[in-house]
Symmetry: D2
Amino acid sequence: MKDISLVALSENRKKTIIEVGNVKIGKDFLFIAGPCSIESEEQMYGTAVAVVEAGSNMLRGGAFKPRTSPYAFQGLGLEGLKILEKVGKKTKTPVITEVLDTRDVSWVCEYVDVLQIGARNMQNFSLLKEVGKVNKPVLLKRGMYSTLSEWLNCAEYILNEGNPNVILCERGIRTHETYTRNTLDLSAVPAIQELSHLPVIVDPTHSTGRKSLIEPMALAAVASNTDGLMIEVHINPCEALCDKDQALTPAEFSTLSAKVKKLKNFMGELD
Amino acid sequence: MKDISLVALSENRKKTIIEVGNVKIGKDFLFIAGPCSIESEEQMYGTAVAVVEAGSNMLRGGAFKPRTSPYAFQGLGLEGLKILEKVGKKTKTPVITEVLDTRDVSWVCEYVDVLQIGARNMQNFSLLKEVGKVNKPVLLKRGMYSTLSEWLNCAEYILNEGNPNVILCERGIRTHETYTRNTLDLSAVPAIQELSHLPVIVDPTHSTGRKSLIEPMALAAVASNTDGLMIEVHINPCEALCDKDQALTPAEFSTLSAKVKKLKNFMGELD
Amino acid sequence: MKDISLVALSENRKKTIIEVGNVKIGKDFLFIAGPCSIESEEQMYGTAVAVVEAGSNMLRGGAFKPRTSPYAFQGLGLEGLKILEKVGKKTKTPVITEVLDTRDVSWVCEYVDVLQIGARNMQNFSLLKEVGKVNKPVLLKRGMYSTLSEWLNCAEYILNEGNPNVILCERGIRTHETYTRNTLDLSAVPAIQELSHLPVIVDPTHSTGRKSLIEPMALAAVASNTDGLMIEVHINPCEALCDKDQALTPAEFSTLSAKVKKLKNFMGELD
Amino acid sequence: MKDISLVALSENRKKTIIEVGNVKIGKDFLFIAGPCSIESEEQMYGTAVAVVEAGSNMLRGGAFKPRTSPYAFQGLGLEGLKILEKVGKKTKTPVITEVLDTRDVSWVCEYVDVLQIGARNMQNFSLLKEVGKVNKPVLLKRGMYSTLSEWLNCAEYILNEGNPNVILCERGIRTHETYTRNTLDLSAVPAIQELSHLPVIVDPTHSTGRKSLIEPMALAAVASNTDGLMIEVHINPCEALCDKDQALTPAEFSTLSAKVKKLKNFMGELD
């Protein structure tokens, strides 16, 4: 795979470890949870307390939502970021949010610990260059049409601007299958790990789009040796402003989280 | 197809006609030609004179190039735009260029007649909103993974911000086939025309990625009733800084252009 | 493209011309029309008279139908073949039908002029070998997941068994798009023509699955230089036992056929 | 999902358990191993002894190979079946082989315990009907372009003919990704289990096409709750007549097998 000199695995290059708060991503298992969108302080805080209690070590919450339709809820913006920051501080847990616009990168960094680049913006090269200039880690989701080679080249854009802290996130690719929203490509996990030193995590929520498939796919991801998981949790999924059919309740997340941890420990002893 | 009230075809809504210079897009056949990248005034001007002579009524030239690798030629930027503007004026032909960054939209408008949103940025909703606020027409390429519904929703984003002048451009979708770079979905032309009042053109160059297939696909597009074509032409393809294997020479373009015009006239009389 | 020595275009190998009745396929434009399924002599004959009158030079009619569900109409079998043969004789027009089973190949040849291998059986290598042993031409549809290379290798199977008379038929590939049933890959026409000496035709009915798209795609196919078309026509589409939403009426076919012929003549003079 | 009354999961219908030799498929973990092609008694027997020793409870070996090119090794045919039967008896392990032709179904049953329908023949409905008439279990691979709905309808074809013993096998679907041969869709495992009472296993070899990815994907499949695995093993992969780059050695299989068993036991205790 050409042109990925900075992200490529090589003899001289150890696996990237990214410290965020107390978490050493790439070494510790990263467990991001939270709602699709930040809707209110009550919703965000209630969800956060529950998922942190259940073992999540990073909180997600969208303030800017890339929605297919211009008439769908677009997120709370700055108000959402303020809520996210506050909740992160109260729960002593680092927070991550998606950024959509080059103009927002620097000021959004004031509110969050990690920036997320979504699947639709994977090849938004201006945005990649911009997040390459800040000193916050970047979680780069795989485009739904993207090859592994293209994805790694996008990470290369970020590293090439000076930011070495990129976390890759497999979130499903678009295929002919319609039962699931996308097709989770779990083979991307070991494939990325043999190509690159960057940590790679898995999002079983957006890839499957089906609540019933989240647990088996989360466990499968752990067995494939993923460096972490990103799961959508909402304190009251029925009232969520987006993706209500796929968010777990805190109780469901807690059950899943316990299994994930046990399996992760088991896998560590399997080799 | 829900949520596309502004772009949807309806009884009360006539086909959109967009005037750019002397061209009435949606009524006159739009014939965009020019190089992938602006490399120098000499290259741009030489190509422009030839393609305008051969019947092109709009000039393309990339100043900001979205490249898979950060190490590939990224375009001349402002310098390129100045060349493009100058060449457009000298040849009295409107010019189009791709814009990649929300921060560039307003000032790039000073140099060109039409803004292009590339396939990789089709769902860059910040960029769509920004080009929705200017008074220049926008050519919106279909994402390589995009459904017709998603594409039309992206156009809806632009119209919803107040800019009614959107031209859609089919440029191939990503499939399992590897002989061609992408798979040109010509059925998108009549499909869009039954769903929307916006003009829809075809790019046979980037979709096929093979010089030998450009002419048959350009003619097929005309027969499918496309509102225009976008073709890559370079005065010296062998020395092009990108996509050298697929650019036509001015002489090849001239031959193609003559056929396209004859076929277009014939199709007008066929009904 | 390796391993296709028999089907590959080469200096020493002229384009294959296949004579069936009065038609020289590869030289004359092949225009196959008829119903998806043979349902009765009345239906088949009524349709046949109309399409032959309108310019069709080969009749299609399915006696064995490969249906997704075992509970869908599976075709009339032998009874259907007898009807097809009779109708072909009465209208003095060659007939084609799909064969699904190696055990049926030799006896089905007694009733029809051309054997069809459907998309789902493109890589049914036993069936390919069997039709390679008979002295009837074979129309080989492209699998919905197939690359051009795989498709040509399947033709190679047939030629390798001794049957040189293969007609290729592009019928759409499966992609993420859902507006159309499949995505018609018209670039396959010129691509095949630069790779192989075999004639290649287009099926705009099954590829688009939408009546409104058949005419523009048929005309586009002609402009792409296809060697023929295969169109579904039913004397009474509303009562068709399968694919009722996509069959043309004889009157609609007649209108289309007139345009196709005019365009074909025009294209012949364009070079 | 309509039209799958026989294969659909329902309150009254318990999970299908298929007894083959001592293995209760659907209850016991099915572990099929062996070479892509049977090449000689020595090769087959050597491989078989090793994989049975390592815990495989069913032996695979191809006698009829569906190859893309007619010039590739097509399998030993009857000679191969005789070897397979002999090796199965000597190792007291049931054997499975792929059948390609309706004419072969009944006599191949004389030599093997389970019939396999390959991905390319998933919608070979004649073949499905034929294997529906015999009293041997059928392993039905998913077509590389197939939806879950289509796949289950193919199983319905077999059950509808009277054979209730169908094992489904996910083996990867065709996508735009090129790093892996196909994209293993592990979400198919829990998806099938919520739709159908049939057992579903996973083939990590053919799906990934890369030796390095087999172990992580095998373990991921176990964690997703698959009912079994099918793995390609060759006593001397370098000399294999097909797919040499993806076959495990017996030693590699033994290592993998030990991990699979431990993980399977662990998963059983996780709930």
